[in-house]
Symmetry: C2
Subunit: 413 residues, 2 copies
């Protein structure tokens, strides 16, 4: 098999927001290369690029080949990107510098672990290499807590973040029962509401928002209306004396404008044109203030209103879903397998082959999809995962529950 | 022994902010009574009051006697207050209503699980019962994530919250290494900085703030100065290209004025006169905005600055410290033992009898202290736990580490 494989070095990079399992994928690629292209002599050195492509063009490479398997195993269990990450969005000139760096280091196998922006970077580099006659395999390994890659049942990183959100909402709901009031939790997700939707797993009895919180769930896929929001909170609060709410940081008005982005003082914009949503709690604080003002009875006391924004810990909390750990590792290995098989490019996609509910065990498999079929595309919560304007469907709960693993069994009086 | 014990019913209440282990203490009191005063016939019914004393005066009682031990065990592992809590601060008229409710239900043993405000409620009721000739034992079981009860080495609830803070800072520090910038984490603690100080456990090598974050730790015990803060961040950022900061929600200026309390729009004030600090992220957002403005070089790009406020999940996260679970349960049982021994009042205090470092295994014991010695007093971080203006000492790390239990072993490249 080695005879028809081009010989050279391999490089691996991590890009975008880190996750609890992005290092599983890094280790998976290393393992896949060691047992594959390196074993047959087609790959010499396995490099890691520091800070994604930003480090590559600066020749900031580390040799991953010397790492003992014991260290790799520990690294895989460590959250956040071990090679460090970047939010750089390479334009044509930048991509030319990337390609020059690849030539400089005789890199013939390029692996990039990231979300839809990263798959697009991978696609551009792949096309540029091909058109310039430089033979190099370019492979994308999926990673995003937002779960917004097309062609995938779900993406590595999401199950672990969803697990954090579900656990946090379970515990915080009981806190809200304990000291009743209105509680808003703001959850990550710029365009897709999957992670916010996972808050519904906090309910003991799947759909019963009348018993368990969160009673109201707001995702970017459903246009957000402040007046309707106030009315819906008022209704729950009047009925129960408390209200537990999950809100996506990415909620948008009817014109598709993100409500949070307009609120952050000196909000920062990254190279992809994404305005900062995380790392500020302006949205939660605005909604809390609105409810305090609007729900105060004439001459009466305002309700107790609190807002928390889960922030960065939801993407790096070190209690990853077991399925997520396994799949993220396999996704990395799989990319190395596609290279071994002689493919010149591709993205690893996760397909579900066993539902994980209705008595059918959960199972998944992987398939190679074309970079251009994934690159820069955003998947949203499909309509069948939504229920009305402020809830998710049973279909979503069935879909999501097997991914997050066992949740604690709480007792109540 | 039963002959000289007054016979009647017992009631248990939970008060103030809930914790991950407050139900351990509830279950501990029930177990202690069952095996003690109830076993000898001095206690008939074991009641729980819904929402603390607020439920008691409204006759909102539940019978805890019928609960099977299996359910008690599950309840003990459930975070947040199972009986629900209250922030009511009883004045004399309110306390008279509490005493009337106790007479109405023939309650002769009163147990209140809470912080320093709750121990004061317990003290007032105890004194009022004594002066009105109503024989009733009043016992306080300690609980507070703030760790600010005097006479205690530490308080149930703190080790688990400290564990959450340490884990969150470990993971978030790696996130900050991965995507470098300035990151602020705001941590609970109105007057005492113990919980914020626990962020230092996130560092691999105890004292080495130059290698691991958080590099800067700000507690209420050290007057906070905005200009000094900006300078200290600037120094770390210039040196490392990133900066990881832990800030207590209760930081105060040199006049003792809480900086966060002035920032929350429509901040709410509870019956104890405490202005809302949690459930808003105004402090973190203010500090982030200040740094963006002040650290932007002339004509240059502002640094990446993000702020998270850990919020309510730090007090109810369902991965409690094992020591905390055990001690919270024992503290509840111990209060029932003091009643069995014939004491008419008291607060349970935890003393440390084994250091838990320098080769000496951790061990603790319990002793009865007078209610007035604990009530309404606040313990602060002692000077020997502080190091300079923005760090904690090795003595604090030695003190805190045994309480939180094992932390994950992260690997880095």
């Amino acid at each position: 098999m080695a005879s028809d494989r081009i010989k050279g070095n391999a490089v691996i990079g991590q890009s975008g927001g880190p996750t609890a399992v992005i290092n599983q994928s890094l280790v998976g690629v290393v393992e896949g290369l060691r047992g594959g292209l390196q074993a047959i002599g087609a790959v010499n050195t396995i490099y890691g690029m520091r800070n994604g492509v930003r480090g590559l063009i600066r020749d900031e490479l580390v040799d991953l080949g010397a790492l003992h398997q014991d260290r790799l195993d520990l690294l895989a269990m460590t959250p956040s990107a071990a090679l460090a990450s970047t939010r750089d969005k390479p334009d044509t000139a930048y991509c030319e510098r990337i390609l020059a760096a690849c030539r400089r280091h005789d890199i013939r196998y390029f692996f990039y672990i990231g979300g839809n922006d990263s798959s697009d970077t991978c696609r551009i580099i792949s096309e540029m290499a091909a058109s310039s006659g430089y033979e190099m395999g370019c492979f994308h390994v999926p990673k995003t807590v937002d779960n917004d890659l097309v062609k995938n049942d779900h993406t590595p990183g999401f199950p672990s973040a969803a697990r954090f959100v579900a656990m946090a909402c379970m515990a915080d709901f009981l806190d809200n029962v304990s000291l009743p009031g209105i509680k808003i939790n703001v959850i990550m997700g710029r365009h897709a509401g999957f992670l916010t939707a996972a808050s519904a797993l906090a309910r003991r009895s799947d759909r019963d928002a009348t018993t368990d919180g969160p009673q109201l769930i707001y995702v970017p896929e459903v246009p957000f209306d402040l007046d309707r929001f106030v009315g819906e909170v008022e209704e729950v609060y009047a009925r129960k004396g408390r209200c537990h709410i999950a809100v996506s940081e990415g909620i948008q008005d009817k014109d598709g404008k993100a409500i949070g982005a307009t609120l952050i003082k000196n909000a920062q914009v990254d190279a992809h044109g994404n305005t900062q949503l995380s790392g500020s709690s302006a949205l939660g604080d605005l909604l809390a203030d609105l409810l305090k003002t609007r729900l105060t009875p004439a001459g009466g006391k305002p309700p107790r209103v609190r807002a928390d924004t889960f922030g960065y810990i939801q993407r790096c909390w070190p209690d990853a879903s077991v399925i997520d750990r396994i799949e993220a590792r396999r996704a990395g290995r799989q990319a190395a397998v596609y290279a071994l098989q002689g493919h010149l490019s591709g993205s690893v996609a996760i397909l579900r082959t066993g539902k994980g509910y209705d008595g059918e065990p959960y199972a998944s498999t992987f398939e190679r999809v074309e970079l251009q079929d994934v690159a820069a595309k955003t998947r949203h919560l499909p309509p069948e995962f939504l229920h009305g304007t402020h809830d998710v469907s049973q279909a979503f709960l069935d879909y999501c529950r097997p991914l997050v693993g066992d949740l604690p069994n709480f007792e109540r009086l």
